[in-house]
């Protein structure tokens, strides 16, 4: 900026000097050159796409939206529409808020069905589909375990007593979530059941934010809700969005991948955890054992939709590296799994497409 202040008066001065002191023909040449310069200048400015990036704290995390547009005003409008969508879903789906629709469903567990919005019904249906696909390794009925372990609530996390876990395990069963499509109702069959969409809501919100941004007429955008990312279109330089994957045990990125009209999500044991007696207890709980899954340390899944990337990364994490890769390949999804020995496993389709930035 400082540079600009000096340059402009300077060039102006030169123009005037040449106009008044040099021969006419020279002036004409000068003028022509200046005009050419100006034309280049304008063509370089007008209609050029740029990226606009904004952050906002929603869903207890940082959401970043990057929009590509020639107009800052249009980009801002689209970014705002994206954030509004994420906020709307947060209000409906927040497990820890008493006012959310999910809380209303959970409070009525065991005695009545609750009418919910189109969005809430849609995400629960998608969650149940993924539960079926992962044979329960991903289970939205995990709520009672989430509360017991206390990883994402306000209370401090600690190891629950064994018998407490044993007692609630029968409640962790997605098959006991009953959907009534025509009435748009959700019913939890057993008292004490609770739906927690924490492992699918961010990916789903990224999908919805992208839809809102598309509707605002933007040609490319990247939505990132914590590590759940959905991209659409390409960058102004003609390249796809480039996403790094966090090293699960150190600072920085260990792998990177191009993302074009796809979503990526990572589930890791390094996000929310505590260490007790040399053992790491983290927030990805195996619905079948009630304890943190320990065969993997990081799982990234690439899918067409954010909700699928988000939920399948949790499911594949719980299943462990071998079964996880098999599951992803059978579902036509791509993934990278880092096992407990820091060995990398990738789905066949990713060979040659993923860049390893540093050894683990």
């Amino acid at each position: 900026m400082r540079k600009a202040k000096f340059q402009i008066p300077n060039s102006k001065f030169q123009i005037f000097r040449s106009l008044f002191t040099i021969h006419r023909s020279l002036i004409t040449i000068h003028c022509l050159l200046f005009t050419v310069y100006c034309l280049l200048f304008f063509s370089g400015c007008a209609g050029q796409d740029k990226t606009y990036k904004e952050n906002m704290v929603i869903m207890d995390t940082v959401c970043t939206i990057t929009a590509v547009s020639a107009s800052e005003k249009d980009a801002k409008k689209a970014v705002d529409a994206g954030f509004a969508e994420i906020k709307k879903l947060e209000a409906l789906l927040n497990f820890f808020s008493d006012d959310s629709e999910i809380s209303a469903v959970n409070k009525a567990a065991g005695y009545k069905a609750v009418k919910v919005s189109v969005e809430t019904l849609d995400i629960i249906k998608k969650a149940l589909m993924v539960s079926d696909g992962t044979n329960g390794a991903f289970d939205p009925a995990i709520g009672p375990l989430t509360k017991l372990w206390g990883f994402s609530g306000k209370g401090a996390a600690g190891i629950p007593q064994d018998d407490k876990i044993k007692n609630i395990l029968p409640l962790i069963d997605y098959k006991k979530i009953i959907i009534n499509n025509s009435l748009s109702e959700v019913f939890l069959q057993k008292k004490g059941m609770a739906i927690d969409l924490g492992a699918i809501a961010k990916g789903y919100a990224a999908d919805m934010a992208i839809e809102a941004i598309k509707a605002a007429g933007i040609k490319a955008a990247l939505v990132s809700i914590a590590g759940d990312i959905k991209g659409f279109g390409i960058k102004p330089d003609g390249k796809p969005w480039r996403v790094g994957i966090q090293d699960p045990r150190a600072d920085g990125i260990f792998a990177a991948i191009d993302l074009q009209d796809k979503a990526i999500s990572t589930s890791g044991d390094y996000q929310r955890y505590f260490v007790k007696d040399g053992r790491r207890y983290h927030h990805i709980i195996d619905p079948k054992t009630g304890f943190p899954a320990s065969n993997s340390i990081s799982v990234s899944v690439i899918a067409d939709n954010g909700y699928a990337a988000d939920s399948f990364s949790t499911g594949a994490f719980v299943l462990g590296p071998e079964k996880g890769i098999k599951l992803l390949e059978s579902m036509g999804l791509s993934g990278i799994i880092v096992d407990a020995g820091k060995k990398m496993h990738i789905t066949k389709d990713l060979i040659g497409k993923i860049t390893i930035e540093k050894p683990l």
């Binding site: 400015c45 790094g244 996000q271």
Partner: protein, 116 residues
């Protein structure tokens, strides 16, 4: 004819004045937001310490040697303070709802986002 060109020249010179600002990239900026509202936008190359009111209290942000850190924070776990000095990216304090980002006018970052 010459007069016309002369006139055009002056107009273009005047027009190019504000446009030139856009053309020459400003240095990196430090954006500090509290509760999703921008509180400060400061140049990265000038040493400064600012205090921002967040949801839980005052966060103190320090800019020095083209680096930024969260110096003090009222949050319980102090993850933001422990992050230390950063040269790019962001420091996020979710409990106090304070977000500090270093923004580059150009897309210089190697990655557009990080999945974690």
């Amino acid at each position: 004819m010459d007069k016309l060109i002369f006139l055009l020249l002056i107009i273009l010179t005047v027009i190019s004045f504000p446009l030139a600002k856009k053309f020459i990239h400003p240095g990196n900026l430090v954006k500090i937001a509290s509760d999703n509202k921008i509180a400060y936008v400061l140049p990265l190359d000038e040493a400064e310490t600012v205090t921002v009111k967040g949801a839980a209290g005052d966060s103190v942000i320090e800019i020095k040697n083209r680096k930024v850190r969260m110096k003090e924070s009222p949050c319980p776990n102090k993850l933001c303070v422990r992050q230390g000095w950063i040269e790019s990216g962001a420091i996020v304090c979710v409990p106090n709802r304070v977000v500090v980002t270093i923004s580059n006018d150009e897309n210089n970052g190697q990655y557009d986002a990080v999945s974690r």
